[in-house]
């Protein structure tokens, strides 16, 4: 029953799929690049990896039957990033995923505001976090993803997203307020 249709030639179907891909997936290229940039901490490498991820997404696109295209794409981007890191910078992935929540004196909003006003410091503090914390923070704060989307993208249970964010934020505060401005300027 389907013989004639399947034999129609894959290029026709490809053109249709491509139009659909361009409409649904391509608009999320910024999101893809931003996630890759923060996971890899390098713009140049992120261009390569985002490009590769987009092409993979296109190849897998027939398996995508509607739903959240951004989350679907970001899942592929994330996997591509981790594969790239394993191959090129395996040491980075060895930083252990710290399950402990260390009690710490709360930082005053004022101190944090001052530290957070410096874009370079903020960038360095975010980059100093282990990738698993960095990605939940980027997805939540920069990409505006819901917990459900973060769970789908990062393959962690939805119940764990909230505590991962809590730990990530605590670490970010620590990283921000513990590197003194002097240190920061020396590193520049």
């Amino acid at each position: 029953m389907s013989g004639s249709d399947q034999g129609r030639g894959s290029d026709v179907l490809d053109a249709q799929e491509r139009a659909r891909f361009e409409q649904l997936v391509l608009p999320h290229l910024d999101a893809a690049f931003n996630l890759a940039r923060w996971l890899l901490r390098s713009r140049a490498d992120s261009e390569d990896v985002a490009q590769e991820a987009m092409l993979r997404a296109f190849r897998f696109f027939r398996g995508f039957h509607g739903g959240d295209a951004r989350a679907w794409l970001l899942q592929i981007v994330r996997n591509t990033c981790y594969t790239w890191l394993e191959k090129n910078r395996p040491v980075e992935l060895m930083t252990e995923f710290d399950e402990e929540m260390h009690p710490q004196p709360s930082v005053s909003p004022e101190a944090l505001a001052i530290a957070g006003d410096n874009r370079d410091r903020l960038t360095r503090a975010l980059e100093s976090l282990p990738p698993r914390f960095r990605e939940v923070l980027v997805l939540r704060e920069l990409e505006g993803c819901s917990y459900k989307e973060i769970a789908a993208i990062t393959a962690i249970p939805i119940g764990t997203v909230m505590s991962a964010l809590a730990r990530g934020r605590q670490r970010l505060q620590r990283a921000l307020t513990h590197s003194s401005p002097q240190e920061a300027s020396r590193e520049l």
């Binding site: 249709d5 249709q16 659909r20 290229l29 027939r62 909003p109 903020l122 939540r140 505590s163």
Partner: protein, 251 residues
């Protein structure tokens, strides 16, 4: 020093992910707990720093170009020459598998030799896509005399634009959409709080009556052809409601 709420619930509250009951509970707790109040202040300040600082990095234009070139290469038939044969077989097998699964999984709406058939899956995708914020309408108007001229020159046919507010289907606007690679008109109706998309495109096939409604994933659609135009109405309203609108449009 270490309030349990600070560690978890506070973050759900900050992110707007708590249900009303738990959010209310936390707000009452917040009045009494200094630690949580301080932490919440710090977290809010951190969030506004993150969002104000312009840390979001947009994709460079060069990357966009490279991806377009990739897609061109992946779409061109000449691809076969540059890929090792075994990989090509793997790709072909995967494509065939998915194609045959989708063939069996999705019922065909029509079978036209001239243009590729539109599947129910595409119609429903297009409907769902239209419900995402900012996607529903290009021209928002309850006035058919505003919506109809808006389509002029944008399509090779003129879709019938009629308001049926008296019958319970208010025309709320229209937009251009793409189904199966061809431009279609989408008329948007509101039925109580539900949205109905009516997709219209041109066809050379003969007229048909309104087909019995189809249903998938909680969405209903009805389909018919009339005077050189093909119609598909899709919504989450009942099949009976949808059929009623189809009849109004058919007349």
């Amino acid at each position: 020093m270490s309030c349990d709420y600070t560690r978890t619930v506070l973050h759900g509250y900050l992110d707007g992910e708590l249900d009303a009951t738990r959010a209310g509970e936390f707000e009452r707790h917040l009045e009494a707990c200094r630690e949580c109040a301080n932490t919440l202040g710090a977290e809010e300040s951190l969030r506004s720093s993150l969002q104000r600082s312009g840390l979001y990095e947009h994709a460079p234009v060069s990357l966009r170009k490279r991806i377009r070139a990739d897609l061109d290469a992946a779409t061109a038939p000449a691809l076969a020459l540059r890929i090792p044969v075994w990989r090509w077989f793997a790709v072909a097998a995967a494509i065939l598998l998915v194609a045959s699964i989708s063939w069996y999984a999705w019922p065909r709406l029509q079978n036209s030799a001239a243009s590729a058939p539109v599947t129910a899956a595409e119609i429903i995708d297009a409907h769902v896509r239209s419900l995402q914020p900012g996607h529903l309408m290009d021209v928002a108007s309850t006035d058919q005399h505003t919506v109809k001229p808006w389509f002029n020159g944008k399509l090779a046919f003129i879709p019938p634009v009629k308001d049926f507010a008296d019958e319970g289907f208010s025309l709320i606007g229209g937009r251009l959409d793409v189904l199966n690679g061809q431009n279609v008109a989408a008329l948007v109706y509101a039925r109580r709080k539900h949205i109905v998309n009516v997709f219209v495109w041109s066809t050379k096939e003969p007229d048909t009556p309104i087909h019995p409604p189809g249903s998938r994933q909680g969405y209903q659609w009805v389909h018919w052809r009339h005077q050189g135009m093909e119609f598909c109405a899709v919504s989450d309203v009942s099949a009976a409601d949808l059929h009623e609108l189809a009849q109004l449009l058919y007349e």
